[in-house]
Structure formats: structure tokens, C-alpha cells
Symmetry: C2
Subunit: 399 residues, 2 copies
């Protein structure tokens, strides 16, 4: 269904725009009817911006795109173009730099990253469609507003309820709390991550139990304590925010305003508003990049509330496990009894992180702490890695 | 709560940015921590863009901003600024034109308009907060995916369920179908319009009955019939799309693919998925601008399905009522019996539309067709007009 639609759109696009009928297709991440960026089957991407008066235009963005920045070339029609070598598969943020001014691509939909709406391009992976909408029952994605006592502000949680949640009024569900990375917001796991479609597909195949997902905004400041949000401002890369509400020196897990939002405000609201199973055996938390540091800090400090834990491309384990992480790993038998799953993943194109992951693996194995390691083949610090993470992590939950 | 937060954010903003402690505040439509645009109590707005290498920068956008485009002036710091005279209150799309290149403001959140993500600025109206979140029970806003037989594609409806929908499992609800304008999408009524907060507040005050809102994407093409979306491309103004699925020549209401999506796909899906009251007495439809033409076409062609009708800043009534609109007004007594509400509104700054509205009023009065006319004082063809429309329209429904 979808592929035939894409093909039709592609052929029509060629007809409308006078494009050569090559193998490229408009990116699925673009707005309706936009013809650029065009993605080739081998992962090359052609970007285009009409800026006849510009002197210099470059393409910049996530490292998954390749050797950023790329210089663009001006054509006789005033359009600047570049076709980049095959990029890492997945979803990559990007922008143009026009005579020094950073601008979004008018062809792209807007994805919240880097502290603001940002362009993105989806580079499909051959034979991999677990994150695409299929003709299976679909859950709902709900925006739920709530007043946070911690911050004194209205906040918005995004909640995925599985298919038939409304019909099965006698059923209660487990909950996975799922956090975005630095500079992103609570919309990321749905819009960039397609978390709802991943769960729909897993549930339809009976690979995962029907469960709820809850996503919140990973920034919080206690009422009266000043500004929330990325301290480094909008230039901060999603990967750069480690340590916010994460660990202090010496591997000490410190409290944070965000922990208070999750534990004191969000979880009680969710358990009050939805038909959840509200004990620790039915509550999980995971996050990506900065969100994984938050998941580490919040779950390990609140093992009375969480028993399933996932770190996606960020938090790893190191140091003296007798004392680090507030000593939770000291008694590994006790940890193994209390924590049903400790899961860590990264993309193989995240080379430094893979090294830390391997070291964590060895350290935890030596300590006798049960854990799972996942490596996403060929992907970088970007959303396709995290989609695959969720696709591996969710089926292991609540079993 | 909110105002004290805004004030704190304002004072903190001055401290952080070295701004003069004047009366301006960062627009609530901007991203977290952004200091521009700054809105003054009298409606003046200061816009700013850092573009040291640019030769000419202008501010452009919706007509509610005033005498667009505005030239901006470059400061010694490389930032271009302009403070515009008091703008019409409400929400206005805008963008910068940098040496001929149209770009969004990196300070602004993205709002879908003009066929793509677009910057927007909120200019508050003194003593008017019916559209802001308050400490009252909040409904949910749900994204519901469904496969359209008409288009052969997956579509996404946005559904507001009133507070306690999930708790009142024995209760069924009336539904208002609510459409956006040209170049916008199904997100507009929530993000720009704050329709959920308007309903939350009306319901809390018992001014409106608890009801559902359903918002869909106003573009559709039958499977195999080519491209959907704004024909005029992304340059099209939201107001420009009249006639799409509206009236043919001679006031004939013609069928459209979008009507088929609403009547054959969306309504059955909604009635199957939610606890609706599914008869015509409990179903309304309204829309703004292009959406009002669609509401006219769809409701008047399907009076077996709708009995409450609203036209916001768009459709009006003219011509020979014996024959126009497929003759629905010919027998006014019959029309009055079948249609519980025919409601038309416009902002008084929409001067031409106000003339058409007055003419419609006279024509319908002369014909003996019961109807309601609403004029939003001082507002233009923009979302604040439509918020006020909804705030007047919704309390009249399903009574």
C-alpha cells in the first residue's frame, strides 16, 4: 500500500517537476509535494535550495550525513544543489548555511532538535520496515496536560495507548517511560522515532505485550529557580547534553528537578489517569543519549519504582562498582533479583560509544550483573539506531 | 500561575540577555528561552535576526502584522531588527526575507501554514484568556491513524476527548468536525487555535456541553488520481484556497474526494472507535477559510448526517436561494426544522468578508432562514478570530 503510494508519488513527481526519471525519490520526511531532498537507493541524497542571490551555500547537519559540511553548487536557475555520497541509513537532522546564516529547508517537515524546529531527512534501509505504518490495529498517541508541582508549570506528556485500550476497559497495562535526547522534546519519539508504529507492529505480531509508552519533556527547573532548557543554547548537539540530571563526580547519582517531575508529578498523574499496572514490576524507563543518562539516574535512584531499564546510545557503566552509582551494583545477586532487565545499546557507527559499551559489558559480566547488549549495525547517533533499540528492547519487557 | 511564570521568565530573560527592562516580553509562540520576537503591551513587536553577511533583510507574513513587508535595520552586532507598530491582536504567521531568500525565524516554534512549517507570533489581547490553559480538568488530544479507502493512504485524525472521557465509560458524546484553512493541516486547531483549551474552559464553566472535536487534513485525492495538496504550492496564503471541494459555478455544491474521506472513511471510523452519539442531531461541522467552504459543501450535501453548521471567515450565502446550494434553502421552514444552527463569523478587520457576511445576514433573514452572525472585534484573517469563533460557536451546539 505504502510502497505503491510512494512509487505513484515518485512518478507523478517526475512528471510535474520535469525531473529525470532516475531512481531517486523525494524523502518521506519532506512536506507534501516537495521534490527535494531526493534519496537514491544506495543512500546518496540530493539536496536543493533556491537562493539566487547567495554567494556561498553549504549543507550541514548530523554526522550520519557524512563529511559535513558539504559545499553546494549554484546552477543557472539560481538553485544550489549537492548530491552527497551514501549516508548512514536512518533519520538525520540537517540545515543549510547561506552566507553564514543557518536556515531550514523549506521542503522539509520540522522536527524538534537542537532546541528548535529543524529539517530532517529519512534515508530508508533496504528490507527494513518495522517502523512504518502497516495495516494492523493502531494504538492512539495522546497529549495529556498536567500541572507540575515541581516546576509550577503546565507540562504536556505524550502517551501511547495500545490498540483496543478503549475497548478493553477491564485491562490494565504496563508502562514504559521513554525519553528523548538533548535539544529535543517530547514529540521526538513519535515524529522522528515512530515509536507508536514500532509498538503497533510488535503487538500485532505478538512479539511485545500490549503496553503504554509515556514521553515527557526532558527539561525541568524547580519553581522559582530560573530557566529550563539546554544550557548551551540552540547550538547544542543532541549528543552533547550528558550529565544533566545524570551523575555527579565519582559516579554519584544526584537528584534533579527532572527526577522530581517524573517521580512526584508524572507517574502519579499517569497512574491516576490511565488504566496502568502501577507496581515496579510493570514500570520501565529508557532514554536515548541525554535521556539515557536521565533514565540511569532516575531508575537507579528509584528501584522501588522501576525494574526494567534501557540505555540507548549514552549511559554506560564504569568505575568501582562497589561504590559508584550509589552502590546499586555492590550486591549483584540483589540487583539481579530486583532488576528484570538492564539493557544497553549503541549504533556501530558510534565508535567511541561502542568501546564504552564493550567495557561496560565486561565490567558487568565480571561483576555478575545480568544485562543485555545491543549493537545497531551501521547506524550512527541518530533516530534509526534508537528505533532499532526500541524494537529490540520492547519485546523483552514485562515478560 | 501562568502569568507569574511569564513574569519570572521575563525578568530572568532581561538578566540573561542584558535586555533593557522595558515592558516587552518574549512571545509565547517562541521556543524555550528565545528572547525574540518581543511583544509590547500595546501590540508593538520587535523582531530580530542575526545575519551579519546579509545586504537586505525584511519581515513578511500575515496581513494582521500591518503594512508588510517591513524593512529591518542592521546593527553593529550583525543583528537585523525592526519594531513594528501595534499589530492586530492574535496569532500571525511570519518569516524573514534575507537577500530574497524566505527563511523562518530560529526563535519561533514551527506552525504548519502555507504548506510547510512556518514561524508564528502570538500577540495577546488584554483581559482575554479563554484560550489559555487553566487549572481546570483537561481533555486529551489524540492522534488516531486510519486507512482511507478513498485515498488508499494512511491518514491521521486529531481527536479531542473531553475531560473524564475515559472515566465516564457509560457516556456517549456529540462530535464537532473542525477544519483548518488552506496550506494548513490537522495540527492547526490545536497548535495555533488552542481548541482543546477553549473547550476545557467552556466545559469547566458549564458553558458548553462536553463534546468531542475531530480534525483531519483538508486535502485528499482519490486513489490513483495524482497529487493532493495546495495546487498553488507553498506560496499560497491560507485564505487563497476557496473553491477546493466547495462550490461549482452557479452555486452548485459539487462532490469532492475530501467529502468522501469525511463521510465514507472518517465518520465511520470515529463512530466505531469512540463513544459517540452517531445520529445527525449530535454531529456538527465547522471550518475556517477554505475549511468553511468544505464545511458548507459537505454539510449541505449531507443534511442526513449534520445538523449544526459553522462557517468561520469564508463561506457566505449569496445568489438565488431557490436554486443555489442545490436548493437547500428553497423551503426555509424545512431547513429551519432540520438545521439546528447555521452560524457565520468573521473578524472586523476582514473588511470585504464582513460585507459578504452582512449581505448573507440580510438574504437569509429575508428568506426566513434562521442563522447566527458573529463578528470578532478588531481581528483579521487569523487564528485569534477563529478561536473567538469557536468560543462563541461551541456553547450553542447540542443544546
Amino acid at each position: 500500500m505504502r510502497s505503491s503510494f510512494i512509487l505513484s508519488a515518485f512518478l507523478l513527481g517526475c512528471f510535474l517537476s520535469g525531473q529525470p526519471a532516475d531512481e531517486s525519490r523525494p524523502a518521506t520526511s519532506s512536506v507534501l509535494n516537495a521534490q527535494y531532498p531526493r534519496v537514491y537507493p544506495d543512500g546518496r541524497v540530493m539536496f536543493r535550495l533556491v537562493a539566487p542571490n547567495a554567494s556561498k551555500v553549504q549543507l550541514n547537519g548530523g554526522t550520519g550525513l557524512g563529511a559535513i559540511p558539504f559545499d553546494m553548487t549554484k546552477g543557472a536557475d539560481g538553485a544550489w544543489t549537492v548530491t552527497i555520497p551514501p549516508a548512514v541509513p536512518g533519520f538525520h537532522y540537517y540545515w543549510f548555511v547561506v552566507d553564514g546564516l543557518q536556515v531550514n529547508d523549506p521542503s522539509s517537515d520540522a522536527f524538534f532538535g537542537y532546541g528548535r524546529p529543524t529539517s530532517g531527512v529519512e534515508i530508508p534501509t533496504a528490507d527494513e520496515d518495522f517502523y512504518l505504518p502497516k495495516d494492523v490495529p493502531h494504538g492512539q498517541v495522546r497529549m495529556q496536560w498536567y500541572l507540575s508541582k515541581t516546576t509550577g508549570e503546565w507540562r504536556r506528556a505524550i502517551v501511547y495507548t495500545p490498540p483496543d485500550y478503549d475497548a478493553n476497559t477491564g485491562t490494565r497495562y504496563s508502562v514504559l517511560y521513554l525519553q528523548h535526547g538533548a535539544g529535543e522534546d517530547e514529540t521526538g519519539w513519535i515524529k522522528q522515532g515512530h515509536a507508536n508504529f514500532i509498538l503497533d507492529n510488535l503487538i500485532a505480531q505478538k512479539k511485545a505485550k500490549p503496553m503504554m509508552l509515556v514521553m515527557d519533556h526532558g527539561y525541568a527547573t524547580r519553581s522559582g529557580e530560573g530557566t529550563a532548557g539546554p544550557q548551551a543554547g540552540r547550538g547544542a548537539a543532541p549528543a552533547a547534553g550528558r550529565g544533566r540530571g545524570g551523575m555527579g563526580t565519582g559516579g554519584v547519582l544526584s537528584p534533579s528537578a527532572f527526577e522530581s517531575v517524573i517521580v512526584d508529578d508524572l507517574i502519579p498523574m499517569i497512574d491516576r489517569t490511565f488504566r496502568t499496572l502501577s507496581d515496579r514490576n510493570h514500570r520501565a524507563m529508557a532514554g536515548l543519549s541525554m535521556g539515557s543518562m536521565q533514565a540511569m539516574q532516575i531508575t537507579l535512584r528509584n528501584l522501588d519504582k522501576f525494574s526494567w531499564i534501557g540505555f540507548f546510545s549514552g549511559a554506560t557503566v564504569s568505575g568501582d562498582l562497589d561504590t559508584a552509582y550509589n552502590g546499586v551494583f555492590k550486591d549483584s545477586a540483589d540487583f539481579n533479583k530486583r532488576v528484570h532487565l538492564l539493557w544497553m545499546g549503541a549504533g556501530t557507527a558510534e565508535t567511541q560509544l561502542i568501546q564504552s559499551l564493550d567495557a561496560s559489558d565486561q565490567l558487568l559480566t565480571k561483576r555478575g550483573v545480568k544485562h543485555a547488549i545491543f549493537k545497531s549495525e551501521g547506524t550512527a547517533h541518530e533516530w534509526h539506531t534508537w528505533r532499532r533499540d526500541l524494537n529490540d528492547f520492547a519485546p523483552r519487557l514485562f515478560q
